[in-house]
Structure formats: structure tokens, C-alpha cells
Symmetry: none
Subunit: 201 residues, 4 copies
DNA sequence: GATGAATGAGGATTCATTCAT
DNA sequence: AATGAATGAATCCTCATTCAT
């Protein structure tokens, strides 16, 4: 019966995704989502703990899809270095889009961030595997020196997330619309280049 | 002593501007604004009729500044035609920014539009004068045939606003974040070109 | 289980009716009504859209009872003409009482009028049937010429409501308590007499 | 300068009287009264302690005028007994009108009653004198036995007020609109008749 | 005396959330 | 699993009242 439950859960997630991107997080009411999912709003609490949880799950689902697509999109690139940089910068771009898409205010963002961190653990394993493979590829192609793929992949992800996190924190004192992602992207690219250079012969 | 009142009013407007752009229109509470302005929220009603009015005044102030800057920015261009097109398209871009900046939902936008129209009358005089001057310039430089600056300026502004308004109306059926301004800009540019060509020898 | 909901709804209506007639429309708070119905004030919104809606429903309920009583009260009269006139003037008298009973200001009255109109449609069917029967009676008793009961009943009701409506409109410039219903009653009686005479041989 | 102040005070009272009878006590705002009196609403507090005080003063002024008129109106009656009964029942009628005129809710009424009592002391002296005179007349005309005018007048007024007060108290448990003054009038008339009969030979 | 400015209290309304069934 | 029903908290707004000038 878990399959059935999952179906319903997915239907709710889809309805919620539409509502959130249409109205933004704050303006979306559980009534809206319930209506869209053809379910009483009270029933949503059977599948999700609360509005925040539901939102985070929506974002997680989108993240899985987006990052999957990004991974495929990056494959045609020639060098492992380029694939890695493209993937990690594409990942940041995704983060920016989520904020805009759901009209998340900085306030909400900071309230929800810990929940995001929890949820990202779920995707992180997959991401680590992907990066690890790219790194191994790089070694095979003699692009990188011998390295420990898992630890290096973890380091890369941590660096990328650290830079992203710093950007959000810095936003604390500035206005939401003023957050400029260009310098963050630049910093990320620069740091990754340094790191990956360190792996080269 | 009206200066003092105006000072306070301005302080509130500034506080409100910060809040609106930080949290968006809906999420900004009068409590937020009152706190930021170091004033009881009830006192805000001494200076403004209601939340909507306050918001519109904020936008008006921003519009004055923005349009002033735009006018200066446009002056270095060589031909009057270019100045006019640049000004009127820059103006539309501003409109787009306001929506994003304050995370105005289409719903709110349509509710507030009449209030905006009222308020824009205040700036319109200044805009007409500016455009009129550009047109006169164009005549002096033999770029345009003889024309009535006031009436022509009015026509240009009306056309630009009409195209903007149509875009909002069309948005009625689409999601706020999906409104694509590129075709609107294109339509505006095209229409203006036609119009201004009509003024040429 | 809808019966249960209706029971609660009725309990609220009764509580509201008491409050409205005790304190008047404006002075009655939803807190008052909630207290009287032993329900959180927010719960009232589960049953009614807002204060105005609640008020209108109260009046509707009273109207049904009053008009029912009026119909019985009118039956003993000998001639159909008399019954009709008595019913329609009694109806106006009821309208006057509602205003006084709930201390409705002209301001509120004019704001609520459209809602009343909506709600009166619900009773109108019953009223039309009653009047139609009186008219048919009149024909049987050779008091009236042959006529179309439905259309004639409709005409009578429309005339009565029109005269009532005119009185409210005229009140626009006068104080609520100064509205004098005597001339309205007179006008109504006169007009009805003319109309009904037109139906006689 | 006290004359000037009194003028202003009277102007305010007149403005307030209009507002109160137009909108009712609750719906009248101090802003309304200030506007009508062409005075800042804060200035009203220079002349009156608060809204209640202002209202009570308005009623007092009206009472003086009304009771003065009533006294004249009663004079043409032949017998002192009739004059007294007419005066005291007319007085009760006035009381009823005040409630309706200003749409005083029972709630407000009971809150304001103590203030009324204070204020009525001001008129009471005049009323006692008037009644005393009627009583003396009655003695001169051999309608009554010898009596002490002051004490008897006081007794009459106390009885009349007591009956009125009882009516208000009884209203506590009933709805405002249901207060029926007819039995109160009757009771008053009956009691007065008994009393005055007691004074006759 | 008069008023501009400020505020606390209260009222209508919305919404996330809970709970019994 | 699903939902009808209920509620506390938060939000916009109005108004009587106060106070410094």
C-alpha cells in the first residue's frame, strides 16, 4: 500500500509545486494546495508535517530533477575539470532560481535553511557519486594526479556549499533584490580552478 | 513646520521602501514599517491613508529618482530619436523592476493599478516636459519636421503606457514570474520607430 | 451529518439575531456573537463569509418568519384585494422595523442593499406563489377579470419593491431616524389600488 | 472672556447634537464633531472631558429646551392635577425619544446612566420650582389640601424618576427594541393619580 | 486656547494547525 | 486515510485619548 501512498504524496507535491511557483511561498495557502490536489487541506498533514516541510520536499524533488538534467548536460564536455566546474556553477545557478521562482524572502530563506540542509543530505550521496566518477575519469585521462575520489568529491561539494552559504549570510544585511550572484559565481569558479589545479600534475 | 512633517514622512517612506524590497509587498506588515521608522504602526495612518497608499508613494518616489537618472543617462546619445527610444524603453524596464523588486503579485498589481495611475500623473508633467524638449531638439537639428512638442510628447507617452498596460492585461492569465517583457520591449521599440519615422522628413 | 452543521448554523444565527437586535449592527462584534454561540469568533467564518453575510442571513430568517405570519394574518380578510394590499403594506412595515430593530444606519443600509437583494430572491418565490394564489382567488370570486396569476403577482411585487427602493434612495439625503414611512405607505397603497382596480371588471 | 468660551462651547454642543442624532452615539466620531465645529478634534478636550461628557451635555441642553417647552405646553390645561400628570408623562416620553434619537444601546445607556443622574441635578432645581408652583396653584384653587410644595414636588419627581429607572433596569434582560413604554406610561399615570388624589379633599 | 503628532485598545478577517471521528 | 470543525495568532485598520508646543 505504500505505493498508493506515494502516488498521493507525489500528486500533492506536484500541486504544491505549481502553487508555490505561481503565488510564491507566503502567498500560497494550504487551502490552495488542497484545492489543487483535490484533497481537504487537513489531509495534507497526513503526508507532510507542515507547510515548511511540504515546501522543502517540493524543492528537493525539483533539485533531483534539475541536478540530474545538469549532470547529463555536463557530460559532453571534454575535460573532467570543465565538467566539474560546469556542474558546480550550474548548481549555484539552480539555487538562485529556486529563490526567485518561489519568491522566497531572505527572511523565509534563513528560517528554512536548516530544513534544506537536512533534505539536501538525501541528494548529496548521489552528487558525491557523480563527482567521484568525474574525478576518477580525470585520473584515468591523466588530467589529475592520483587522488581519493570520495574525499575529494566531498571537499568539492563542501567548498561549493560553503561559498553558497556565505552568500546567503552576507545577504542578511542587504536587501533581497540586491543579492548579486555574479561575484559569488566568480568566487566559486576561481576557487574551484585553484583546487582542481592542485590536483593536476 | 510642514518641513518637519515632510521629514517624518520621508523617513517613513524610506523605512517602507526598505521593508517592501526586503520582504515584498504582502509580507511587509505595518508593524515592520512602524518598527523601522521608530513609530507606532497606528501613527503611519497619520501620514498615509493605508498600506496601499504608502506603497504607491514609495513607488512614486523611486520612480522620480529612477526617471531622473534615466533622463541624464540618455542625454549623451547623439540623435533625439535615440534619446527618446532609450528613455521610453528604459521606462518600461523600470516598471518591470518595480514588480520584481517588491514581489508584487499580478493580483495585487491589478488591484493597485488605478492607484498607480493616479500617482503617475504627478510625474507625467515632468516627463512630458522632458520629451517635449527632446522633440524640439530634434526639430532644431533638422531630425524631425516641424511639430507641436506638447501634443507629440503626450502621444508618445500615451503609446508607451498603452503598450505597458496591454502587457499587464495579457498577464492576467499567466503567472507573475512568467511574464516575458522581451516581446513587450520589442513591440514598444517597433511602434516608437514607426512613430518617430513619421516625424522625419 | 449536514443536519448537525445546520443545527450549529442555526444556533449561530439565533445568537447573532439576539446580538444584532440588542446592540445594533455596528456595535455587535463577532466576539459578541462568538461568545453567545459558545464558539471562537474565527469559527464563525466557517459558517458565514463575513459579518455582512451573517447579518443578511439573520434578516432572511426573520423575513421568512415574519412574512409567513403576515400571510396567515391576512387570510381572514374578505376580499382578495384587501388581502393583497394588506400583505404588501405589511411587508413594507416589516422593512421599516428591520432598520430600526438593528439600528441600521443609512450608510450601512446602502452598502448592504445589494446583498439583501440577493437574499430576497430566496423568499421571492414563496411570495410570488402566495400572491398568485390570492389573485386566482380573486378571479374565482369574480373580483378580478381573467388574468395571468404569475405575471401579475410578479408585477405587484416589483411595484412594491420599487416603491420601497425609492424610499431608501430618497433617504440618501436625510437622517436615518427621520425617514418618514407614512408617505411611502400612502404611495404604495394608492398605487396598488390603481393597479388592482385595473384588474376589476 | 468666559462669554467667548461659552460661545465656542455652545457651537460644539450644537455640532455634536447634529452628529449624535444623525449617526447615533457610537457611530459619531470626535473627528466628525470636530469637523462640524470647525475645530481640531483635540480641542474638544479643552471644553469637555471626553466623548461621554460631551454627549451628556448635549442631552442636558436638549432636556432644558424640551422641558421648558413642555412646561409652557402644559400651562393652558385647566386643573393643576392635569398639568402635573401631563408634565410628568411628557417627561417620560422625552426620555424615550432621547434613546431613539441617538440610537443609544442599552449597554451604553447603562454605562451612561450615572452621568445622566449627575447632570439632571442641574435641571432638577428648575423642575422642582415648576412643580412646586403647580402644586401651590392647586392649593389656591382649592384643588388640593394644604401641603408643603417643595417636599411634595420632590416626592413627585422622585416617583416619576423611580418608575423610569425601573423600566431601564427591567430592560437589562430584554432587548433594546422590546422595551415597551406604554405600560410604563400607564403605571406612571396610575401612580400619579393615586398620589394626587391623596392630596385632594 | 489650539493643534499636530502619537499611541493603545479593539474590531474584522485570514491562515496554519489540530483533533475527533 | 480523510475530513469537518475549531482555534490562536497575526494582520489591517479605526478611534478615543494624550501631550508637547
Amino acid at each position: 500500500m505504500s505505493a498508493k501512498k506515494d502516488d498521493k504524496r507525489d500528486a500533492i507535491l506536484q500541486a504544491a509545486a505549481q502553487c508555490f511557483s505561481r503565488f510564491g511561498y507566503d502567498k500560497t495557502t494550504l487551502q490552495d494546495i488542497g484545492d489543487a490536489a483535490k484533497l481537504n487541506k487537513a489531509s495534507l498533514y497526513y503526508y507532510f508535517r507542515n507547510k515548511e516541510d511540504l515546501f522543502v520536499q517540493v524543492v528537493l524533488l525539483e533539485a533531483e530533477r534539475y541536478l540530474g538534467a545538469l549532470q547529463e548536460q555536463v557530460q559532453p564536455l571534454m575535460r573532467a575539470t570543465d565538467k566539474i566546474v560546469a556542474y558546480l556553477t550550474g548548481r549555484l545557478e539552480y539555487y538562485r532560481q529556486v529563490l526567485n521562482l518561489h519568491q522566497l524572502s531572505i527572511e523565509n530563506l534563513q528560517r528554512l535553511e536548516p530544513m534544506f540542509d537536512d533534505v539536501y543530505q538525501a541528494v548529496r550521496g548521489q552528487e558525491l557519486a557523480f563527482l567521484g566518477e568525474l574525478l576518477s575519469e580525470g585520473v584515468t585521462d591523466r588530467e589529475f594526479l592520483k587522488l581519493q575520489p570520495e574525499r575529494t568529491a566531498d571537499a568539492l561539494l563542501t567548498v561549493a556549499d560553503g561559498i553558497k552559504h556565505e552568500a546567503v549570510q552576507r545577504a542578511r544585511t542587504r536587501f533581497a533584490h540586491e543579492v548579486d550572484y555574479a561575484p559569488v559565481q566568480e568566487k566559486l569558479t576561481y576557487t574551484l580552478t585553484l583546487l582542481l589545479n592542485g590536483l593536476k600534475k
